[in-house]
């Protein structure tokens, strides 16, 4: 069942990627090759952007699936661990200090921010903390990073820096190059690999913490794998594209009914579906006519995600989930 789903998602991606390359402010007609600068648009703008959408979407989808398995809750989102706000805080500081002018330093700052949030999370949650304490620690880090970001914005040295920060935080794949693809891909793939390795333990956790331990799960190892896996995927994503929410929440939820519902069988299909969703959403952002530029991907997904989340909550209240 799972293999068939993976094949279907792969086939959808194989169809969607070339189509996505054609859409944008300049539509490229494959049967009329005389479009001006088509090669440049494809190779330098659209292809890296599509590649980034695939990588980031895969990371967000996989981390959402693992996160929901870890917290045993379909409403969980990778953002809950406070790693995304940590990475965003790092990026904001790079704007604040002016280091963002150097193209390599922004993602480096963001990765350091993600790494610090991961270390803080591991430190607070401790060795015997349990999942509830772990989640609360994540929420605390999240609000701390949020407060520090607001502080940095309110104290920003120039109005230009402030507008740069605010725009960057909205999350987008516009104007990204192969460099960003090169930064995000290894971290994201490593993160997905770590989350796949956590799959068996997440399956056992379906039965609760005590039963999982009785099945041989080492809770400390699982916690370390989760911090590393979520940190790498989410940290890399924020580092190159800003905060893109709700993918990690929506995708596993949509994919779950198509699998046998074990967390481990959800990770790879969620990665593929996340890639597909982000690719489609980014295309939509490119082609929507909007005065003054294009719709920001982060905003578009929040607009999609919030009603989705609300619907999920209402269904849960009725006991249908």
């Amino acid at each position: 069942m799972n293999r068939r789903l993976i094949l279907i998602l792969l086939a959808a991606l194989i169809v969607a990627v070339p189509l996505s390359l054609l859409a944008g402010r300049v539509w490229i007609d494959p049967f009329a090759p005389e479009t001006r600068n088509a090669a440049v648009i494809l190779m330098q703008l659209r292809l890296p952007r599509a590649a980034l959408a695939l990588v980031l979407g895969a990371g967000l989808g996989a981390s959402g699936a693992a996160m929901q398995g870890f917290l045993r809750n379909p409403l969980a989102d990778p953002g809950l661990f406070g790693i995304a706000p940590g990475a965003a805080l790092g990026a904001v500081l790079s704007f604040w200090t002016g280091y963002a002018a150097s193209v390599w330093l922004l993602p480096v700052f963001a990765l350091i921010g993600a790494g610090s949030a991961m270390a803080l999370l591991a430190l607070i949650a401790g060795r015997e903390g349990g999942i509830a304490l772990f989640t609360l620690a994540g929420l605390m880090i999240s609000s701390l990073a949020g407060a520090l970001m607001s502080l940095a914005i309110s104290l920003s040295p120039t109005p230009f820096a402030m507008s740069e920060i605010v725009t960057w935080l909205m999350g987008t794949l516009a104007d990204r190059s192969w460099r960003e693809v090169g930064i995000a891909t290894p971290f994201t793939l490593a993160g997905i690999g770590v989350l796949i390795a956590a799959g068996r333990s997440l399956d056992a956790l379906t039965l609760g913490e005590a039963a999982a331990r009785s099945l041989g799960v080492d809770p400390q190892r699982l916690q370390a794998l989760m911090i590393a896996g979520i940190g790498l995927t989410v940290g890399a994503g924020v580092a190159v594209a800003g905060i893109i929410g709700f993918v990690g929440l929506m995708v596993p939820h949509l994919v779950r009914p198509l699998t046998d519902r074990r967390p481990s069988s959800l990770i790879v299909p969620s990665a593929l579906a996340g890639a597909l969703l982000l690719l489609a959403a980014d295309c939509l952002c490119r082609v929507l006519p909007l005065s003054g530029g294009e719709l920001r991907l982060g905003i578009a997904l929040s607009l999609l995600g919030a009603p989705f989340f609300l619907n999920l909550l209402l269904r849960m209240r009725k006991g249908l989930v």
């Binding site: 056992a204 379906t206 005590a210 331990r213 099945l215 041989g216």
Partner: protein
């Protein structure tokens, strides 16, 4: 792995307590609330180390065992077991194979099929957990433990949420497993169930071992009165006794 005994010597929370459990027996752990029953079971399952003393499995210290080796030997059914995702019966039962990493899929499938058959769940194999009745759910969770193929079955108040018929059916399952040579250890609140169905009863009170032996002795009226604090007497025939309280 051959297991003959499971020793426990725990101090402090469970004071000066030494028990040795045997394969092929149904042992019930009884006691009032806060007596340390779940703590004892959790120590025996290797889920928490005793404050002092040690737990051994077949002569080997539990603390030194690899978690997966321990998980293959001891099946544990927690109190009020949860199932986070709406799995099918077959997939839920297959979770019992998690400690057997690297074992061929065909072998795992045989174990899963046997566990499903043993709990009479063949017709429900593809049904989702949310669609099961309380009794069917209890049997499914039991099949999950059996799929591991453990030498020991430890369950914390497995009958708590079951009606009379389902409780009796589940107890019969535990009895069958003991006859097949497994060691069964149950935390039981219902003293009549323990009296009628256990081979041996361990009575705890505030962390102390009060009685350990055949049910007629360990759950004698005097013990019940002393430990539970209410006058009681057993009525009925052996094997079908009821406790009259007050």
């Amino acid at each position: 792995m051959s297991l003959q005994t499971l020793d426990l010597g725990v101090k402090d929370r469970i004071a000066d307590l030494t028990v040795m459990l045997h394969l092929g027996e149904v042992t019930a752990i009884c006691g009032p609330n806060g007596a340390g029953k779940s703590t004892l079971l959790s120590c025996l399952a290797g889920l928490q180390p005793p404050d002092r003393g040690h737990v051994a499995l077949g002569g080997q210290p539990m603390a030194g065992l690899h978690p997966e080796t321990r998980a293959r030997a001891i099946g544990y059914l927690p109190q009020a077991p949860e199932v986070a995702w709406d799995l099918s019966v077959e997939v839920l039962v297959s979770l019992g194979r998690l400690p057997w990493r690297g074992v061929p899929g065909s072998e795992a499938q045989v174990a899963i099929d046997e566990a499903i058959a043993a709990m009479d769940l063949d017709a429900l194999r593809h049904r989702r957990v949310s669609q099961l009745s309380g009794g069917e759910r209890a049997r499914t969770l039991m099949a999950r433990v059996l799929a591991t193929g453990p030498g020991w079955l430890l369950a914390d108040e497995p009958l708590a949420s079951l009606d009379l018929a389902h409780a009796a059916a589940l107890l019969a399952c535990f009895r069958r497993q003991a006859v097949l040579g497994r060691g069964v250890v149950l935390v039981l609140h219902d003293l009549a169930m323990a009296m009628n169905h256990a081979d041996r009863v361990i009575v705890l009170d505030r962390g102390r071992l009060v009685a350990d032996g055949a049910p007629e002795f360990a759950l004698g009226a005097d013990v019940v009165e002393r430990v539970w604090g209410c006058p009681a007497r057993w009525v009925g025939e052996p094997g079908a006794r009821a406790l009259s309280v007050g």
